[in-house]
Symmetry: C2
Subunit: 285 residues, 2 copies
Amino acid sequence: MARTFNDRLRDAQGRSDSALCVGLDPRGDRLPSACGGEARPFFAFCRQVVDATAELVCAFKPQYACFAATGAFDELRTLIAYIHENHPGVPVILDAKRGDIGDVSALYAKEVFEVLDADAATVNPYLGWDAVEPFTRVPGRGAIVLCHTSNPGSPWLQEFPEAAPVYLRVAERVAKEDTGNLALVVGATFPGQLAAVRATAPDVPFLVPGIGAQSGDLEAVFANGLAADGTGLVVSASRSVIFAGEGDRWTDGVTAAATTLRDAMRRARDASFASRRDSGEAPAR
Amino acid sequence: MARTFNDRLRDAQGRSDSALCVGLDPRGDRLPSACGGEARPFFAFCRQVVDATAELVCAFKPQYACFAATGAFDELRTLIAYIHENHPGVPVILDAKRGDIGDVSALYAKEVFEVLDADAATVNPYLGWDAVEPFTRVPGRGAIVLCHTSNPGSPWLQEFPEAAPVYLRVAERVAKEDTGNLALVVGATFPGQLAAVRATAPDVPFLVPGIGAQSGDLEAVFANGLAADGTGLVVSASRSVIFAGEGDRWTDGVTAAATTLRDAMRRARDASFASRRDSGEAPAR
């Protein structure tokens, strides 16, 4: 049987022994000077970040907004093709936060999966399940549904109402509909809510932004978010990795930052897994 | 003082005496044969729809997804520039359903207002107010926040929980934050909910999709959605107008469909206004 998106994500995690997803968020004012002079500066920059970190990650996550803000769609398309060609087996998650009425969502799914050839996209559930569903139809591809986001303003809608919050309603639905093609976005900055989502959706993978520049706590993420089998977390870092280098050998700094994060994630995962095993909460691997 | 987006929308409604917003949703498989052969078929088609309806509308609403699904961003940008140049005073609402964490939403606002030069965009409130706020900062431009959408799946999240539903929480916030730069998306297919949003946000303009192809009822829209002063409704129709023509003179069919809708909206507005005046609910204009 064909591998689902979640199978492919798990394969990539197994091969790399890494939970790290590097977010590709190029900004014109933060590019190394060597890239700034290129005809396609965002592609030139991201391509080097990709090559400097591909062995250390389970996924790449290009940020649509960064490319859209300068109309650099060709660079985004070229970047995704570059990853597939040079680092096959590393899934590409397009962070685009799509969602519209059904037939319009289907057009967005076409953009994501056909025009840009991403393996998955982040999807906004505000419009309802008919907005999400078109992203779940393509074999091997996935929809990563916003659940509890990492930004300070997220509780206003997502934790409302207190007794049965929206974000858990979303988690419950995704857990029910998942056939290997669904995951959830759960921010690192709200560890208690991360635990609640894991309790609601025990087997669904989480994409976890908010460590690094947004300063979420890695230990808390693994303690609260790990699935019973020790997998289920894809933790993304963008600025803290991609802008970590300086000077001519800036990619060395990028590799070093990604290595440090990957290793910290391994330790956090192993510590959390060991502590669950000792307390009888999880089976030994 | 500079005119706000809502002032400009009201100006356009006053000039045209029309509540109709034509949605520009080009689809490759539905273009008139003459446009299909053009180098820029979506632009060629939409430009003619725009010229055929500009006197009949208070706004145009290009659908981002239609252009994104084929990577036709240059055509979208060219179309918006064409509207500004040839029909100044008709606001362009980009239907893009944006929303991300604050600094990423700011990049999307840059795409919408700088790269594409739209006057307003539809914005998704799931991430919270920090996702909406970057769209409210540019003088004269606006954010049209999803409140109760027209699709069948919308109640699942938006009407939850029954006693104090999410869509009214959004309406309340927008009413509170509005300084002439905010409006709400409220679908025609849920007239009772439209009335509830109007009661919650008495002065905020509504963008109302869901008539025509989605078969919402125009009389119910005006009876339930009109503001006390007889304005406040921008009712969008896409497929039922733009694909109404056939043959060589296809734009005649487009003009006719838009005229019919504009007139039906005038009648619905006047009937609703008269009935409120007679019942003492609204002041005479």
